[in-house]
């Protein structure tokens, strides 16, 4: 009896402190920094990803937030400039003191900001594809959500060499940073598979006519053309030159081959045939013409926010943005807090987390979460409503 009073007082005191403490933490929002190139080059993917991110944040906040805390999204437009990206990364890390950083979209910016965010110890969801953006030792809290460049190139190479059984490859890159490094990686991976390209060239993305390069490729005996450039002008001119020449060689390469901007620049819609590109299981129609159910669900949710008509963008961008926020939700919920070390532990032990864009797995030695099994080859001219049909096996 005597103990009850002090125990009760202690209990009340403890309870009060906990509520005060916990209460103040409950009130504090979870800050997510979003580095996006909403203007400038690569703005189309960035704008689409932004829609996905915004939808996820709104949904989670409407359902009460993560662990009772609302998400505060701090969007910074880097305009494709690495100096601005570094400035904003510093601002988000030290001024705004965000709990997470998503992005940047642009690999060139990402290479500059990832070390900055890593130094501040903030978990970073990487959505650039260049392989060097993740490293378990240098950037222990950087987790990649998108596939790597190597995965794009390997899927395409496997399809061209093993499925289509081609042996004489022409590799085309452009003279930008992304183009030169991708073309180089493509050549290395081909040589590892025992194939030496019969023709390889780097083309200025604004070169007005590619019939000379294609003629050279034809003379070298190429039976498949593999372009690794994100420049829609270049890719369209490549397809135009192929069509104008009347050469029915197959083109297998970068996803930008399937983009609507490329299609718009084609001389004739039929030039889009016999073109394949690396894509994803999540945005591929099955034999009955249906998308994976979760993708379809997201498409239906997003459609009114994207104009209500048939989608003209690559839907995987939207899905990826959405997944980034959901991954943060998963990490914080499982870790019980936004403590960076705890979040890191959760993420690096995440196995098969089902997102919409992919099923992610990271490990203490592996920071690239996108599995090879979620890659798929798509047929370019089957574009409909943001997704594609599977390339014939």
């Amino acid at each position: 009896m005597k103990l009850q009073a002090p125990a009760r007082v202690a209990g009340v005191l403890v309870g009060a402190t906990l509520t005060l403490f916990g209460g103040s933490a409950l009130a504090q929002p979870i800050k997510i920094g979003w580095l996006s190139s909403l203007t400038g080059p690569l703005s189309s993917p960035a704008l689409a990803e932004n829609e996905g991110v915004k939808l996820a944040v709104e949904e989670i906040n409407a359902a009460g937030g993560i662990l009772g805390r609302q998400i505060e999204l701090l969007t910074r437009d880097t305009a494709g400039d690495p100096t601005k990206a570094v400035n904003f990364a510093q601002q988000l890390a030290f001024s705004d003191k965000v709990d997470f950083v998503i992005g940047p979209v642009n690999s060139g910016e990402g290479l500059a900001t990832t070390p900055v965010v890593a130094r501040a110890g903030i978990p970073n969801l990487v959505i650039g594809s260049i392989d060097q953006l993740t490293d378990p030792k240098k950037y222990p809290r950087a987790f990649r959500v998108i596939n790597t460049n190597t995965q794009w190139i390997s899927s395409a190479n496997d399809y061209a060499l093993k499925t289509l059984k081609r042996t004489k490859v022409a590799v085309i890159g452009d003279t930008t940073g992304y183009g030169t490094s991708s073309a180089k990686t493509a050549q290395e991976l081909l040589e590892k598979a025992g194939v030496k390209p019969v023709y390889s060239v780097l083309i200025d993305p604004n070169k007005t006519d590619l019939s000379d390069e294609l003629t050279k490729a034809k003379e070298a005996g190429a039976d498949v053309i593999m372009p690794w450039s994100a420049a829609t002008g270049l890719l369209a001119r490549l397809l135009n030159a192929r069509g104008d020449m009347g050469w029915d060689v197959l083109v297998v390469g970068h996803p930008a081959l399937m983009a609507s901007q490329t299609r718009a620049l084609l001389n004739k819609p039929v030039y889009w045939e016999k073109t394949f590109a690396a894509g994803y299981v999540s945005t591929t129609y099955d034999e009955s013409g249906k998308l994976p159910p979760r993708t379809q669900e997201l498409v239906d949710k997003m459609r009114p926010r994207l104009g209500g008509k048939e989608l003209d963008i690559l839907f995987w961008w939207v899905a990826m943005g959405y997944d980034c926020v959901k991954i943060i939700e998963h990490a914080v919920t499982k870790a019980g807090s936004t403590d960076p070390a705890a979040v890191q532990k959760v993420l690096e032990n995440t196995s098969r987390y089902d997102g919409i864009y992919a099923t992610y797995s990271w490990s203490p030695e592996q920071r690239n979460g996108f599995p090879d099994s979620n890659m798929a080859m798509n047929v370019a001219n089957t574009f409909k409503d943001g997704s594609f049909k599977l390339a014939p096996r």
Binding site: R76, D81, V86, N87, Q91, E109, P115, T175, G177, K184
Partner: protein, 340 residues
């Protein structure tokens, strides 16, 4: 041209303002809000190292170089390669970056400085593009599209505050150099070249040599700035060194006012910090720089520094002292008399 004839109180106010500004700059790490602001200040200092040297070329000598981003890139990559890949001591690497860029400035200046204004501008722009191509083409050396990681400087400069002080010191050095050049007859010579090269030549100013010396100096400062900038960014890619950066340097100098040192310095501080403070401006970015440049050229071609001076004049007009002249006529007559 009024440095010598200023009234006393004008000079003391200027000196006071300078001392206050210097104190603020030196104590910045103590009262800065957070590391981000320190980073921004270090970036301004790094840019000023280049702009301070470029100011002599554009603001004083009137050579409109719009390709200095190429020299910045050469400096940055030289530092990254020497200090990173080859492991040289960073101080040596910084010096080498400056020296190499000075050499590039010499090689670029020799053929192009004789060309008239537009030709020279195009030549510098073209060289910046060539540097870009070179970086991309030699990817074993420069990392090509992927870029290079840049090592941090050794202690005590590896902390944000330490780095800031180094950048500040270098910027102060460049400011002092250019201020000395501007103040003395040499600087007047440069302004003469800008305003009327033919007259300058006829008065004995060694036009080509002066232009070349100033251009090489701007190359050296660009190289050092590149090294400092690279270390600050900790990772450089070719995407960083685009033509718009050259435009940015150019606009800083012009809006600050040609023929002044303080003006471009204020211009640099404002133009670097402004997009960070005003988010919509970051989106408009280059359009805003163009608009600002046009507005300044049309409305206040002497730069914003001049606006302040005009306002100062209005508020506190300089007293024009008139000293009555009373000649000694008798002495004059005597002197004239002895002339015969």
């Amino acid at each position: 041209m009024k440095a010598d004839i200023e009234p006393r109180h004008g000079r003391t106010t200027k000196l006071a303002a300078l001392v206050v500004a210097a104190l603020l700059a030196v104590t910045f790490p103590l009262w800065a809000g957070d590391l981000y602001q320190l980073h921004l200040a270090a970036l301004i200092a790094a840019f000023w190292i280049l702009i301070g040297g470029l100011n002599l070329v554009i603001g004083y000598t009137g050579q409109l170089s719009i390709g200095h981003v190429g020299l910045l890139a050469v400096g940055a990559y030289t530092f990254a390669i020497l200090a990173g890949t080859l492991g040289l001591h960073p101080a040596l690497a910084v010096g080498a970056a400056g020296a190499l860029c000075g050499l590039v400035g010499l090689l670029l200046g020799l053929p192009s400085l004789r060309l008239p204004g537009f030709y020279f501008a195009m030549a510098t722009m073209a060289v910046a593009l060539i540097v870009g191509e070179f970086i991309m083409a030699n990817d074993e050396l420069t990392g090509g599209g992927i870029g290079l990681a840049v090592p941090a400087l050794p202690a005590p400069f590896d902390s944000p505050a330490g780095f800031y002080y180094l950048a500040l010191a270098l910027a102060a050095l460049v400011t002092w150099f250019s201020w000395n050049v501007a103040r003395q007859m040499w600087g007047r010579g440069l302004i003469a070249i800008r305003d009327n090269p033919v007259t300058a030549q006829s008065v004995g100013v060694p036009v080509f040599r002066a232009k070349l010396k100033v251009f090489v100096f701007s190359g050296i400062t660009a190289g050092v700035a590149g090294a400092v900038f690279a270390s600050l960014q900790s990772y450089i890619t070719p995407d960083t060194f685009v033509f718009e950066l050259s435009l940015f340097f150019f606009v800083c100098i012009i809006i600050g006012g040609r023929g002044s040192i303080v003006g471009p310095l204020i211009g640099t501080v404002i133009l670097t910090a402004l997009p960070e403070l005003v988010a919509p401006l970051a989106k408009l970015g280059n359009f805003f720089y163009g608009l600002l440049l046009l507005a300044v050229v049309l409305l206040v071609p002497e730069g914003i520094g001049r606006v302040f001076e005009v306002i100062a004049e209005r508020l506190r007009p300089r007293r024009v002292e008139s000293v009555p002249v009373s000649p000694d006529l008798r002495r004059l007559a005597r002197a004239l008399g002895t002339q015969r």
